[in-house]
């Protein structure tokens, strides 16, 4: 089987959308510079907001019909594989702009990644926004532009949406929900329960950047640090990985709870023991320092552009070099393996100091220590 031949890149009726003639039927113009409750009221103000901000940025033939639902040809979808993948995620990040990204970019990358890690080709996204009254229209435009740019780069279309405006204090500036649909190729059977003895654990680069960047961007610590969020769509990298290692067992993006949580999920679902090595686990000096100051553990920090892949031993080298060849996997590393005969459900780490410690699931939220 040559996985490279699979129709993983976009084809079909949508492919020309970006260059297609303007198919919009309305061209409302938004006058106000501030979002008010009127913009969620269902009247002309709302229509103008949708036309001038959302359709203007996301424009594609499926969206532009402005029906209550997006419609797809089943035959179009079937060319990508034999199973539909569907996911949804809500984005409520504070602050909404942070080094390395913003809530809009995050809302696209997060949902694209949730589809891609299942082996799906991400195709269509929805966009539902809850906006707090008083938001500057220019800020909203900036977020929407970021979503449009990221969607374009990720090769997905935003095909339907919803807008609500709530009173001051009812939400924090803006909440975005994106749901996504993708199609899984018939050859991929990825699952958290697929891990086998001797499989290798790969990650695609430095861990904890997003979590550290966000904590730092909140400004409470008054630290100046160059740490940027790693927020990025991983579908291309995953395609490269699956091409090089078609028997990959499982991929998961290590978002909230960090890689520690993903590894624990794999260990539990595959009823196996996982061992990782601190010396092989890539963490930036800046993130290490940040965690030292606050008493946090980088293994539990969120990522938005990092994945954990479980790959059979005989394909791990090929997987690693394919990942390293992609810009989002330049610092990929083989950090450990599934230990034959280890205690099922257990993750432990060989520390760089020569000791051994358990890496458990996080209970609640990581809170900085007193002293």
């Amino acid at each position: 089987m040559n996985v490279a031949d699979k129709p993983l890149s976009r084809v079909g009726s949508d492919e020309l959308a970006a260059n297609s003639p303007d198919t919009r039927t309305r061209h409302g113009k938004l006058v106000s510079s501030v979002i008010t409750l009127a913009h969620g009221g269902g009247g002309k103000a709302m229509r103008d907001l949708i036309d001038d901000v959302f359709i203007e940025a996301f424009s594609n033939p499926t969206l532009n019909t402005l029906e209550d639902q997006a419609r797809f040809q089943l035959s179009d979808l079937a060319r990508y594989g034999d199973r539909l993948a569907m996911t949804t995620d809500s984005y409520v990040i504070d602050p909404i702009f942070f080094p390395g990204g913003d809530i809009g970019k995050l809302a696209i990358c997060g949902t694209v990644n949730d589809l891609a890690v299942g082996g799906a080709t991400p195709l269509y996204l929805t966009c539902a926004m809850i906006i707090e009254e008083g938001m500057q229209v220019s800020t909203l435009r900036q977020i929407v532009k970021s979503m449009a740019d990221t969607a374009k780069a990720a090769g997905v279309f935003i095909v339907t949406g919803d807008t609500k405006v709530v009173g001051r204090g009812s939400c924090d500036k803006i909440f975005i929900n994106t749901a996504g649909i993708g199609v899984i190729h018939q050859d991929f059977k990825l699952g958290a329960d697929q891990g086998q003895d001797g499989d290798h654990i790969l990650v695609n680069g430095y861990l904890g950047d997003h979590g550290a960047a966000i904590l730092n961007a909140r400004g409470d610590m008054h630290l100046t640090s160059p740490i940027e969020s790693d927020c990025a769509p991983l579908h291309e990298l995953i395609q490269a990985l699956l091409t090089a290692a078609p028997n990959t067992r499982f991929i998961r993006d290590a978002t909230r709870g960090g890689i520690a949580s993903v590894l624990n999920e794999i260990a539990a679902a595959s009823k196996c023991a996982i061992e990782i090595h601190e010396t092989k686990t890539p963490i930036r000096q800046e993130v290490k320092g940040f965690c030292e100051i606050l008493g946090l553990d980088p293994l539990y920090l969120a990522n938005e552009g990092k994945l954990v892949a479980v790959v059979p031993a005989n394909e791990s080298q090929a997987a690693l070099s394919a990942m390293r060849d992609h810009p989002l996997g330049k610092y990929s590393a083989d950090i450990g393996s599934i230990l034959p005969g280890g205690r099922a459900g257990r993750v432990h780490m060989q520390t760089s100091f020569g000791g051994k410690r358990i890496v458990d699931m996080l209970v609640g939220e990581q809170l900085p220590r007193i002293c």
Binding site: L294, T351, G354, G355, K356, R357, L367, P368, I370, C371
Partner: protein, 384 residues
Amino acid sequence: MKYVDEFRDPDKAKTLIREITRLSDQLARDLKRPVYIMEVCGGHTHSIFRYGIENMLPSSLELIHGPGCPVCVLPMGRVDDCVAIAEQANTIMTTFGDAMRVPGSKRSLLQAKALGADVRMVYSPLDALSIAKKNPDKEVVFFGLGFETTMPSTALTVLKAEADGIKNFSLFCNHITIIPTIKAVLDSPDLQLDGFLGPGHVSMVIGNQPYGFIAEHYQRPVVVSGFEPLDILQSLWMVLKQLHAGEARIENQYNRVVPEDGNRMALEAISKVFELRQFFEWRGLGSIDNSGVQLNQKYAAYDAEKKFALPAISIADPKSCQCGEVLKGAIKPWQCKVYGKACTPETPMGALMVSSEGACAAYYQYGGAPKDIIQIHQLEETSI
């Protein structure tokens, strides 16, 4: 990381482990039991687990995890009082991250926050003062806790509040002092301890002199230790060397940070605003004389206990909870009846399961599940 990696060098660790094993094996043979060394400070406990130090040590040496986790030893009644203040109208409660999760008899600050109380996490008491400046129509309370390590920053904040003429700021003071506590541990009848790792950060403030009585009256060596893994190994080695030579002295391994006489300015700030309480209640250890501080008469206007009417009800620890015995080193965490069953980091019953510096939480999180540990422990015991 510069100035950090040097203290985590695995090759140097191996050399130290060899020396530690040689000394402690000899001592254990003479004692006909393992050597017991207590690390007083929760920060040490955390490092020991984080770097997997315990399973690098020989079975002839056992570490007893002491009472030095200020979050852990806070009694439930005090948390209840704090929650009661936080739930007052027009009040903002501020505190450090890991104090938010400490269970009261009804709820923690984190739960009170979810129910509508304005509770904010700060990284320094000065942040609380800034919040007070920004919210002049609200009373901003800082839930201050910790040993002498965090006491100076609280004291300086009270002094700054006075200097800046800020009236809407107060302190709910739960600061505690280390020396009476070590004394209480040493006076405990079921105690088996051969030596101590002294708390590095506390000592940075109070210096090394206050530990003199441990060597003089109790004939136990104390080595004030840093928090990096090599610091801890070197300090253990230093304690063992003293034991081997039949000595009991106060030594300072952490001299890159700890001055012999402590930090004069910090001590001055402390003595300016604080006075000793007659007694303070500790979770797991009961009431200990002179073990807590409160604001003195001059700064009474900043004392939340005087500004607010508090329930001040003492809540007994749950009967099945054996934190006290663990704190004194009489039993190991996994020997407690409720460890890992009724008491887990998710639903902590006892103090030691609350903070990641608590011995039980550290065992649970980094050390392994009870079954594993019991098996390992039994193996160790039979090998002695």
